[in-house]
């Protein structure tokens, strides 16, 4: 299952920010944290499909720009009192390059 695709240099993704990866079938949001961890989740909030890539990143979570749901980047689960989950994908960083496995 580990079919790694090189998507960008780490520096192409802003700290506490994201990039959108467009595939044939969907869009994936790739986030970078303060500590240079990288997470990838489907760019769709479990609530009303808001583009999570456009949210504010803090710690290892992102706040959806449409209705402020907070989504855990590692698990894709909604945090707090909300309930829902979005798909997550594996990532790795090697030599300053970011790889994604779909």
């Amino acid at each position: 299952m580990s079919n790694w695709i090189e998507i960008a240099l780490l520096e192409d993704i802003p700290k506490l920010g994201s990039r959108v990866i467009k595939t044939d079938s969907m869009e994936v949001a790739v986030f970078r944290t303060t500590n240079d961890e990288v997470f990838a989740i489907k760019d769709e909030c479990p609530h009303k499909k808001g583009p999570l890539s456009q949210g504010i990143v803090h710690g290892t979570s992102v706040t959806c720009p449409l209705h402020n749901w907070k989504i855990d980047l590692a698990s894709g689960e909604a945090l707090g009192a909300d309930e829902g989950c979005t798909n997550t994908f594996s990532t790795k960083i090697e030599g300053g390059k970011v790889f994604l496995s779909l």
């Binding site: 920010g17 583009p51 456009q54 710690g59 907070k70």
Partner: protein
């Protein structure tokens, strides 16, 4: 090895403290909880509805046994702690087990006071305190007929009501001449007594109990005047006493309760105490509301954060008897120099009294219509000067709920399917269910679980009222000092002040100086900090794009389908044929699906794909347009009318002045959106009196109006002053704007800001003090040098291109 924290008392105060502690630190302690009752933590204030048959015990359990195990907490019920040895830090239980602690938290609550008259220890004489008492009462109601409740206070009346609903013949015996004498004045107490009598309760007032008569079991109650009544059950509800025996035996300083300081610490630094067992600043609280704040403070210190202080609570009361609406707060006994406002409508069963001192509410009593209780309580807690709306204050807060709800806003009368939050479609039943089933006590909790009042906020008052009427006195009124968010204890004012005073010039310095709990902050505090730094240090602070909400980062309004809208600036609403042609060409080129004219006299283009934004902006920029900032907490538009160039009524050149004002103010970031308008005459066609800054031209000059709002809560402006020249208009506008930019809380519009600070305060700073006005204006101009760089042009030329470009891959 982890430190050992032991909690004695498995009730609401202690467990709430643990919950607050676990939010801060889950790793620091091994936690053990001792509870004398055989139940997990339950909501004690809901015992009355259980007795009344409106709820079951299961409904009022707050923490199931699973909660303890999931959080690694050892729960010991039914084996009470009998001794504390503070020297060797050791506890002994009744069964003889021993436990060592590093820190100890006492939350032993209180005991009902049993009047020590002869016969008080007979079978059938009880207090009203726990599940066992409720069980005793319910059992008695099946077997016996006559009940006597001694004590006409809150608890006594709720007990009496419950027993009556269970079919008993109930007499309430009260020592004083009015019911609930600590919460009610005479007229309200009489109204209450009359409605309870109508429901079937009997009362004996000014009756002093001398003896409980009978054999093993109670048979009657005898009074000091020699009279006697029959009783099969006697409930003593004459008050509570802090349960401090354990602490006293251990030599911890106690007076009427266990004495604690502002950090909830007892005289033994290893021992903390919270809840009803505590005496803080000479007050013992018998209500539940203060414990929420106490729990937060104790948790903060147990987690070694050491910054929170408990400074006492103001409490309010609400009687939980279905069908009776009663609210009281503060001190309503008039003293010398107090004034009283009263509204009395005996036919409708409505009574409201406010006691005023120095133009501030000191106390409130309400009966029949308690809709505005939470509002009055808020005014009381915040010490708001009410002189501006004193003449209408008794009629209530007009902005509760959406406009036009009228009597529908009486919370108690609303049906469960009545919609409360129009933004999120939340009904009253949803809110009540969530409060009861999930054990919610605060507005924030209710927002998180139901989303009610979490969008536009206009139904906040209604939601608070539902919360208050559902949980009764346990309702945790939001503290008047509100922290910016969960990352910090500090309020907006403290943060604004620190940034200025300690010259904090980047976000990391603010967060470390003020000891933020989360390294990155969160989606609530980051945009606020970014704004405060930008407003205070415009030339030094570097704007942080990742701390801006997406609209301000992408310089367009995100729509529900993830596309954006584009609104070019048209200064003063003026445009030319070539402007319109350029916009039309852009719409054709990018296949814009919909256009409309906005309320601020601009053209809005909808449905733009994010990647199309920079090229579209380039075309607009080439045609001479700059960003309209229609997406930002920023200066939005200056709306104008035709003015004297064309209009036969016009007194001044309103369009020309509008363009000058927009030239001056465009691009400036604000705490919230900020709108201006200029009307050419008092007919006010550009609606300047519902704008943040409005100019109404008159023959002799210009009236300047501030603090208007046309949104959720319509507010007409206040007149700031009148000036004679356009130059003055610009200077006053810049100065007022800067005052607002420097001092308002992030996301606070000018309307609530002016209401909060008072018009006089603004006038003093902007009108009366000419030097200060000039200084404010100068600072505004400095900020504008940085702000008036068109973000669209910059992005069309390649800035922040990562924001707009997707990375395309072909999945293998």
């Amino acid at each position: 090895m982890k430190e050992r924290l032991v909690l004695i008392g498995n009730g609401m105060a202690g467990i709430r403290t643990l919950e607050e502690l676990l939010k801060l630190d889950t790793e620091q302690y091994d936690i053990t909880v001792f509870g004398a009752e055989p139940h997990p933590n339950y909501n004690r204030i809901m015992l009355s509805p259980v007795l009344a048959g409106e709820k079951t015990i299961d409904d009022i359990i707050l923490n199931e046994r699973d909660w303890y195990s999931e959080n690694g907490i050892t729960l010991k019920t039914g084996d009470a702690v009998s001794d504390i040895d503070r020297v060797s830090r050791k506890l002994t239980t009744e069964s003889g087990e021993e436990f060592v602690y590093d820190r100890l938290l006492l939350a032993t609550g209180s005991n009902p006071f049993i009047i020590p008259v002869p016969g008080h220890d007979k079978e059938g004489v009880i207090g009203f305190r726990d599940i066992a008492d409720v069980d005793t009462m319910l059992a008695a109601s099946k077997q016996y007929k006559k009940a006597v409740v001694i004590g006409g206070g809150l608890l006594g009346l709720e007990a009496a009501n419950g027993l009556m609903l269970n079919g008993m013949d109930v007499t309430v015996v009260h020592l004083m001449d009015k019911l609930m004498e600590r919460q009610l004045d005479m007229p309200a107490a009489n109204l209450l007594k009359a409605s309870l009598e109508e429901k079937g309760l009997k009362f004996m007032m000014e009756a002093s109990t001398a003896e409980i008569t009978g054999g093993d079991r109670v048979q009657g109650v005898k009074f000091t005047d020699g009279s006697e009544i029959d009783a099969d059950l006697v409930v003593m509800a004459v008050g509570i006493r802090p349960n401090m025996a354990l602490a006293q035996d251990a030599g911890i300083h106690c007076e009427r309760g266990i004495v604690v300081n502002d950090t909830m610490q007892t005289f033994d630094p290893r021992v903390y105490a919270v809840g009803e067992c505590v005496q803080h600043r000479n007050i013992c609280y018998g209500l539940v509301a203060p414990l929420f704040e106490q729990a937060k403070v104790a948790a903060n210190h147990l987690a070694n954060m050491g910054i929170a202080r408990y400074e006492g609570s103001l409490t309010s009361t609400k009687l939980k008897v279905t069908g009776i609406d009663l609210f009281s707060a503060g001190d309503f006994d008039e003293a010398e120099g107090d004034e009283t406002l009263v509204l009395q409508d005996p036919a409708a069963g409505v009574y409201k009294k406010l006691v005023i001192r120095d133009n501030k509410i000191k106390g409130a009593v309400m009966y029949g219509d308690t809709m505005d209780g939470t509002w009055y309580f808020q005014l009381l807690r915040e010490g708001t000067d009410i002189s501006a709306f004193r003449s209408t204050i008794l009629f209530g807060q007009h902005d509760l709920g959406d406009a036009g709800h009228g009597d529908e806003t009486r919370v108690a009368a609303l049906s469960n399917d009545a919609e409360i939050c129009g933004c999120n479609g939340v009904c009253k039943g949803d809110i009540v269910d969530a409060i009861v089933k999930k054990g919610l006590f605060t507005l924030d909790d209710v927002r998180a679980h139901t989303k009610a009042s979490s969008s536009c906020g206009s139904c906040t008052g209604l939601v608070e009222s539902i919360l208050a009427s559902t949980v009764g006195e346990g309702y945790d009124a939001a503290p008047s000092k509100k922290a910016i968010c969960g990352c910090t204890e500090h309020s907006h004012d403290e943060v604004i002040g620190s940034i200025k005073e300690y010259k904090l010039k980047d976000m990391q310095s603010v967060r470390s100086f003020l000891k933020w709990k989360n390294e990155d902050g969160c989606a609530t505090c980051r945009p606020a900090l970014n704004y405060y730094l930008l407003a205070r240090w415009p030339e030094e602070y570097k704007d942080d794009a990742q701390s801006r909400f997406i609209n301000e980062r992408a310089h367009g309004n995100i729509q529900k389908d993830g596309t954006y809208s584009v609104v070019p600036r048209m200064f003063g609403g003026l445009c030319t044929p070539s402007d319109l042609r350029a916009i039309a060409d852009v719409c054709d080129k990018y296949e814009v699906p919909e256009m409309k004219v906005t309320g601020g006299q601009r053209i809005d283009m909808f449905g733009i794909k994010k990647e199309d934004l920079p090229p579209m902006w380039k075309d607009l920029s080439d045609a001479g347009f700059v960003s309209g900032h229609a997406y930002g907490k920023a200066m939005r538009t200056v709306k104008t009318c035709a003015g004297k160039t064309w209009c036969r009524f016009g007194t001044q050149n309103s369009t020309g002045l509008g363009v000058k004002l927009e030239d001056l103010t465009w691009g400036s970031w604000m705490p919230h959106k900020f709108k201006l308008a200029v009307s050419g005459c008092p007919r006010n066609c550009s609606e300047a009196t519902i704008k943040d800054f409005g100019v109404v031209c008159v023959d002799s000059g210009y009236e300047l109006h501030i603090g208007g709002n046309g949104g959720i809560k319509v507010r007409v402006t206040d007149l700031l002053c009148k000036v004679e020249t356009e130059e003055e208009v610009l200077e006053y506008c810049g100065a007022f704007t800067q005052k607002y930019r420097e001092e308002a809380h992030y996301l606070e519009r000018t309307a609530p800001w002016v209401e909060r600070m008072g018009l006089d305060y603004v006038k003093k700073a902007v009108v009366e003090d000419a030097d200060n006005r000039k200084a404010l204006y100068e600072r505004f101009l400095v900020g504008q040098k940085v702000a008036q760089i068109d973000p669209w042009k910059a992005r069309a030329e390649g800035e922040a291109s990562h924001e707009f470009n997707k990375i395309e891959i072909t999945a293998a």
